[in-house]
Symmetry: C2
Subunit: 211 residues, 2 copies
């Protein structure tokens, strides 16, 4: 049952908290969201059904921890995408593609992230932390690509629009209806590029702000 033979496993796990989060993500990806139960996660981690209570108050907190780790992963993926861009313009495109790619590669996790956020009516980081967090990264990148930092309302509008669009695209891109369009565009990535071009974020005057 456990991941390691029982005789090698010490009584004290060492880092059960993270092991439980990892087990939860594993179940999420292989069995889907309904498999992520407290008992199921404990089972997957090779531990008794009550062990998780030493690390999480209840099931909800375990789910939140899994979601939180998802946001951290997403943030890292966005940072990597932005860092690899040759220009601010390219950074915006890369960010969008990275966002949708993350959502598609980790679909059940992505959904859990938003389910947890919805329960609190709050995204995990934007708003509070204005510069860090995934949302803040998008805003920064859009400003670097030419959004007028003096017009804060417009910056917020354009950031919100980009975020909503990426989210909608991420949730839709799995539907079969879009396969024909993807083929017309010549593949998944060109399709995403073409879609983001509809948003027109990158069609402004070519203002370059090297940092």
């Amino acid at each position: 049952m456990g991941r390691a033979p029982a005789e090698e496993r010490p009584y004290h796990h060492g880092d059960l908290r993270h092991a439980l989060i990892a087990a939860g993500r594993r179940l999420l990806e292989t069995q889907g969201p309904i498999a992520v139960t407290l008992r199921g996660v404990a089972r997957e981690a090779g531990v008794s059904p009550t062990a998780p209570y030493h690390h999480f108050q209840d099931k909800q907190q375990l789910l939140e921890a899994i979601a939180q780790e998802g946001w951290t992963k997403l943030e890292a993926a966005l940072e990597a995408a932005r860092a690899g861009a040759g220009s601010p313009r390219e950074a915006v495109n890369n960010l969008g593609v990275a966002y949708v790619t993350f959502a598609r590669d980790n679909a059940p996790l992505y959904r859990l992230m938003y389910d947890a956020a919805r329960d609190r009516a709050d995204l995990p980081d934007p708003g509070q932390r204005r510069t860090s967090g995934a949302y803040g990264k998008v805003r920064e990148t859009l400003v670097a690509a030419g959004a007028d930092p003096g017009d804060s309302k417009q910056v917020e509008l354009i950031t919100a629009a980009a975020w909503c669009f990426a989210h909608g695209l991420a949730e839709m891109a799995g539907f079969r209806q879009f396969e024909h369009l993807k083929a017309l565009c010549g593949g998944e990535t060109p399709f995403l590029g073409a879609m983001f071009r509809q948003l027109g974020l990158m069609d402004g005057p070519p203002v370059d702000r090297e940092r």
Copy 2:
């Protein structure tokens, strides 16, 4: 328990199928998605736990029927919004606002609709029925507003973009982070208008955005 006193209710319900769908939607809105169980729906309809089996093969089919009715309602809302517009341009805006409004006013139903669709990897109508259905309505309206009907790839791109954007906006608009921005815009509806304007669908004839 039942909606009518037991002594007034005949043994044969008459239209239990629709009564169950209505009961399901009622539970969905008042108790949330986890309350929508087969037994719970039967209870809410004032009927024994096994009665639904005479109308639905299993729980999944009941959920699908609830979702299907949701799509029909959405379609009607979009049609009404389009019909009330003075110009094609206005129709596009109204359609977007109506979509998001529907999603916000029927949030749990809206989510169920997409959950059911995701299980099949298919939206319920677009693709197959090119002109009818909610998706087809959006496409028609965009063409009427100036999209070049000869460029079918561009029509599909713009329709997909509009749909994804509206969906993303619908899912995001409930988060607290956007309240400040809504206030800046002067309310919910102006906010939605400003957001849709970011998409640029209504700012002149669709230009060739290839660079």
